[in-house]
């Protein structure tokens, strides 16, 4: 029985099912209260967690997102049932941490992870197009490094308890969002009273949907970066059929909910600065490619015991703190007295993206095994 299910989930239809389910559930979460033009965004949600913990003090983006908890724990449950939970660490963790930081800096210059880029496109936000072009460029650069021997080295099997660190951390976050303790006057834990951080579906719904997605994604290896990488690297269309299923399902779900609005300017929680939407995602895409997975995939891997992916996730959370503390994250478009103010990153954000590209390229060049 388990073996047959494994076969199905590993098949093309398995990953299409996972993509379609995520595609329906994202806009559904939006309908139930999650931020508009978002539904689910792994990068934004990790940023909200960083804010809730007080690692940054951008008061409008602070909430412990139960979806993230669900993604990790859903994957853990799937891995345990199918006997795939395996604690492993030691493939250049500090490099993965740095990649996580810059992945988040890039993501927050665009304002979204690849999942959200697809959800935004499916909701009619055309700014997702330059972002997805940037994502493909970033991944293509990463593929070039992979082809020329880039490799972060082997991980080692380790104590089972090591594999449990990330799942247990998530249980801790869940307890914090359930009991909402206040550690000193004014917080932490911080919860936004206005802005995107204040918009969320009911906790139980967010958690349940997170668990379902975590389970499906662990079984099917759903990955938005791997999808594009595999097409470029080995002409394999397996994973990308899942991503396309997400896009189509999200589009149709948005139509049903009346959440589809075509346009560039002043879309919710986004900016229409073409160049930086693209460049932010070039950086993020390259960092994901060098780290071997999109932000979602890194959560699912962390859930099945991969400590190196756990480090990448922690890097992203720290990267979110850096982004907001140092004013690197992009500002949304705003309409002031009827006039459109195009958002985008501050000069610091632009410099950070360039710096990140340099760092990632140095990593790509210097961490190559000699080719036989």
């Amino acid at each position: 029985m388990l073996e047959r299910l494994t076969k199905f989930f590993a098949s093309r239809w398995g990953v299409i099912l996972a993509g379609a389910v995520i595609g329906v559930l994202g806009p559904t979460l939006q309908k139930l209260g999650n931020p508009p033009n978002m539904g689910i965004c792994v990068a934004c949600f990790e940023r909200d967690i960083a804010g809730a913990l007080g690692l940054h003090r951008a008061s409008v983006v602070q909430y412990i997102r139960p979806e993230i908890v669900g993604f990790v724990l859903g994957s853990t449950i799937a891995a345990l049932i199918f006997r795939e939970f395996k604690a492993r660490v030691g493939s250049a963790p500090i490099v993965r941490f740095i990649l996580g930081i810059f992945a988040m800096i890039g993501a927050l210059v665009f304002l979204g992870c690849p999942w959200r880029a697809n959800f935004r496109l499916a909701g009619g936000d055309l700014n997702a197009i330059p972002a997805l072009i940037g994502l493909v460029i970033g991944i293509a650069i990463g593929v070039w490094f992979l082809r020329t021997g880039y490799n972060l080295g082997r991980s080692q099997k380790t104590y089972t308890a090591v594999g449990w660190i990330m799942p247990v951390l998530m249980i801790g976050l869940l307890l914090l969002v359930i009991f909402r303790p206040v550690f000193s006057e004014g917080g932490p834990i911080f919860f936004s009273e206005k802005g995107p951080g204040s918009l969320h579906a009911p906790l139980v719904v967010s958690l349940a949907i997170g668990l379902v997605i975590g389970f499906l994604a662990q079984r099917t290896r759903f990955c938005t970066m791997g999808a594009i990488r595999d097409v470029i690297l080995i002409r394999d269309f397996h994973l990308i059929s899942g991503v396309l299923a997400l896009l189509v399902a999200a589009f149709m779900t948005n139509l049903v909910y009346g959440q589809f609005k075509v346009g560039y300017a002043a879309q919710p929680i986004s900016h229409s600065n073409f160049l930086w939407n693209m460049l932010g995602m070039v950086l993020a895409g390259l960092a994901y490619a060098l780290a071997g997975g999109c932000p979602g995939r890194q959560l699912f891997l962390a859930g099945e015991g991969d400590g190196d992916s756990g480090i990448f996730v922690l890097g992203m959370i720290v990267g979110a703190a850096i982004s907001h503390n140092f004013n690197l994250a992009a500002k949304s478009d705003a309409v002031v007295e009827g006039a459109l103010q195009v958002g985008g990153p501050s000069p610091y954000g632009m410099i950070a993206v360039i710096l990140g590209l340099v760092v990632c390229i140095v990593i790509g060049f210097t961490m190559r095994e000699k080719m036989a």
Binding site: S91, L146, N151, G153, R154, S155, I234, H238, G293, D306
Partner: protein, 68 residues
């Protein structure tokens, strides 16, 4: 006999290494991996390249024997 030890390597290294061995063309090729993900990825790639794939489970690791 050609041996590819891809244990401990993360996605997509096992696939890249196995593909290189297939291109080299010295069959049979033995590919060692330690996750089901890598097993499925290598199997899918090898079958697409027209190889026959036999999978042997060894404790919690896998040996894939590719022949053509």
């Amino acid at each position: 006999m050609n041996i590819v030890d891809a244990r401990g390597l993360s996605c997509p290294q096992p696939v890249i290494l196995a593909q290189k061995a297939i291109v080299k063309g010295e069959f049979p090729i033995e590919v060692y991996v330690d996750t089901v993900t890598s097993r499925e990825n290598v199997r899918r790639m090898a079958e697409k390249q027209g190889c026959k794939v036999e999978i042997v489970q060894q404790d919690d690791e896998f040996k894939l024997v590719l022949t053509r």
